[in-house]
């Protein structure tokens, strides 16, 4: 479905819009309160961005350093050029170990490569264990927010879903719903052969991966099963262990408005001795899937600085109205509107860079200062230059005519005079269905200037 149509459908869904208004407003308030607990917010943003810029400019070397150190600590590192390869690697590891159930903690990269479908095709059951992800998996939906995947659902809808799928008494008591999920998922954790997680940061200096969360499901996923597979985009690497500090200051504050999330797991290789706790094997899958191409220009390279906090979604006036599903991508909102065309091709998502009023609120809240409006403008220029997506014949014609007229002041004046006489004004219908259109002034400023203003002096 086109963005235009799905956005229109979302706008007609009052329940959805109520849920979004509630959640995005609350996220915004919590973020502002949490920001105030860090004395030098701007300084932290600058430091974090500088670390990301440094890493991205030397990404090849930091990835090699990370790989060497992770392997030295006992991890196996796999490289995947694209989504299919990543799914193949993970599917093969699972199959070779005879895994029937795979428990998963929240991973946007796994959504990006559609890992669940790939595992299911091999007869392996993927079980999402983050409460939000579990809800949307039961509902057969996709996440609608980077941080809170089920943000579009009300407690009543979730109560009805759990009653149907888990056989519990219908309830809209949030604690009861969470307890039902805990019970159901404990059984799945007990039987799981393999755990799949994402990665928030990967430290080149030590080969450590770091996973942030609040629920404890990622800790269960990475502690209980015999095998742990961590899937990460190649941009997740940072140079030094000490660099974690600034990112741990920024990410929870920006994402959920917490000073720190409940858990950070810092995992360096697999367990060292048989009697140690934790998985016997750790596999790390490095995913490119279009990322290396983004390094080719500074404007696109900054997309890779994203730490997936979701603050730009909550701040975006467009996202606040329509939510994540309308974007038709696992990455919604402002950052999704710039990531999706770069990851999956401009042809299939040529509308997304236009799904913004360019207000700049996303840039203001971004903890790593990604200039999302500049990226949107860059991608719009790409859409026009490469003729991606629909033909836009009328639009091209209109802008040629516009440029021709605006280059000639006398012609410009004649055209406006004619429009005034005929009482026409583009763009008519689209504008006037919901808004009155202010008519052209009886006399333009330049006419006033010529006849009156230029001769006057200060009063």
């Amino acid at each position: 479905m086109s963005f235009e149509r799905s956005a229109r459908a979302a706008l007609a869904d009052e329940q959805l819009r109520g849920a979004l208004r509630h959640a995005t407003t609350l996220f915004g308030e919590r973020r502002r309160a949490a920001m105030a607990t860090l004395p030098d917010w701007e300084g932290a943003r600058d430091r974090a961005r500088a670390i990301k810029d440094e890493t991205l400019l030397h990404l090849d070397r930091y990835l090699e350093e990370f790989t060497a150190n992770a392997e030295r600590a006992g991890a196996r590192v796999h490289w995947a050029r694209d989504a299919a390869t990543a799914c193949e690697i993970i599917g093969r590891i699972a199959a070779e170990r005879g895994a029937r159930t795979v428990v998963k903690s929240k991973s946007m990269a796994s959504e990006e490569i559609h890992l669940n479908a790939a595992l299911a095709a091999r007869g392996i059951e993927p079980v999402e264990t983050d409460l939000g992800e579990y809800i949307i998996q039961l509902a057969g939906e996709a996440p609608s927010h980077i941080v809170a995947p089920a943000i579009h659902k009300t407690r009543r809808q979730i109560g009805a879903l759990f009653a149907e799928k888990l056989g519990m008494e219908p309830s809209d008591d949030v604690a009861k719903l969470a307890a039902a999920a805990r019970r159901a998922l404990r059984r799945r954790f007990a039987e799981a052969d393999l755990g799949v997680s994402g990665v928030n940061f990967a430290v080149a200096e030590t080969g450590t991966i770091l996973i942030l969360e609040n629920e404890g499901n990622a800790r269960l996923t990475t502690s209980l099963p015999r095998t742990h597979i961590a899937l990460m985009g190649i941009e997740k690497v940072i140079p030094r262990f000490a660099d974690l500090e600034v990112f741990l200051q920024l990410l929870p504050r920006s994402g959920t408005g917490q000073v720190l999330t409940a858990y950070q797991s810092l995992l360096t290789g697999a367990k060292r001795r048989p009697e140690d706790e934790g998985p016997a094997e750790l596999h790390i899958v490095l995913l490119d899937n279009g990322r290396s191409g983004m390094l080719a220009a500074p404007v696109t390279r900054q997309s890779l600085a994203c730490i997936r906090c979701g603050a730009c979604l909550n701040a975006c006036p467009v996202y606040r109205q329509i939510g994540g599903h309308a974007y038709g991508s696992v990455y919604p909102g402002p950052i999704g509107a710039v990531l999706t065309p770069q990851l999956f091709g401009l042809g299939r998502s040529s509308e997304l860079p236009y799904a913004s009023s360019l207000c700049g609120a996303c840039r203001d809240v971004c903890p790593v200062k990604i200039d999302i409006p500049a990226l949107l403008l860059h991608l719009r220029a790409e859409v026009v230059a490469t003729r991606a997506g629909k033909p836009r014949l009328l639009e091209r014609l209109a802008f040629s005519a516009y440029a021709a007229v605006m280059a000639r002041p006398r012609l410009f004046e004649s055209v406006v005079r004619l429009a005034r006489m005929l009482r026409v004004m583009l763009p008519l219908g689209a504008w006037t269905k919901w808004r009155d259109l202010r008519p052209l002034a009886p006399r333009s400023f330049r006419e006033e200037w010529r006849t009156r203003l230029r001769h006057e002096v200060a009063r």
Binding site: V259, S265, T268, E277
Partner: protein, 244 residues
Amino acid sequence: MIRTADARREILRAIRESLAESAAGGGAAREGPVEPRAAGPGSAVGSTGSADPGAKPRGSTGPAAGASKDVVSSFTERLAAVGAQCTVVRGEAAAAHALADILTDAAARRVVGSDAPLVQRLLSALGDGFVRERLEGLSRDGLFACDAGVTTAQWGIAETGTLVLESAREKNRLLSLVPPIHVALLSSTCLCDSLGDALARMSRASHAITLITGPSRTSDIELTLVVGVHGPQVVHVLLLEEEP
């Protein structure tokens, strides 16, 4: 069949080509090579922590020993803010009493402790009325049936109310996660001021370092807070001050 060595070469080449294109287009140049740092397990690169349980804390901001009243009070304040409980005790005998009280108040009967000597000593001092499970040989179902897990914590972070648990020091991963109640014993000499301070002190010999800030929580339904979704509902810190 995927040849991972080929994929690696291919991705690295794609990265280098893109970066070269960017530099040619006036983008920032890659000034100066970055020296790869080798840092295997246990290597001392930038690490000030140690796997030796007897090691005294050393850190960039000076020793934490003799933690000031300020650090203790800001730690306990932050613990309260994140929904964790804290009891400050002086000496092991007092700690044993406090542990029994905490478990009794929480109606915890089935208790499992880590292999840390201090934990073992405190658990053996518990009176009757508790079932002490042994971690060795405990099945997943057995672990899931426990009411409380008792571990030590290697560090506390005052500015965030965070516990740091290192895998090299004891078996703490599952005990601090699976039972609904987690009691953590922490020496007040191991309090760090800040997250950065703690990162500098952590033992990188641990294959798993876990940072815990309050109980398990979720806000995935209407952003409404629920505590204890997958991990413990109760996190109780027993802060041990040294006997005078």
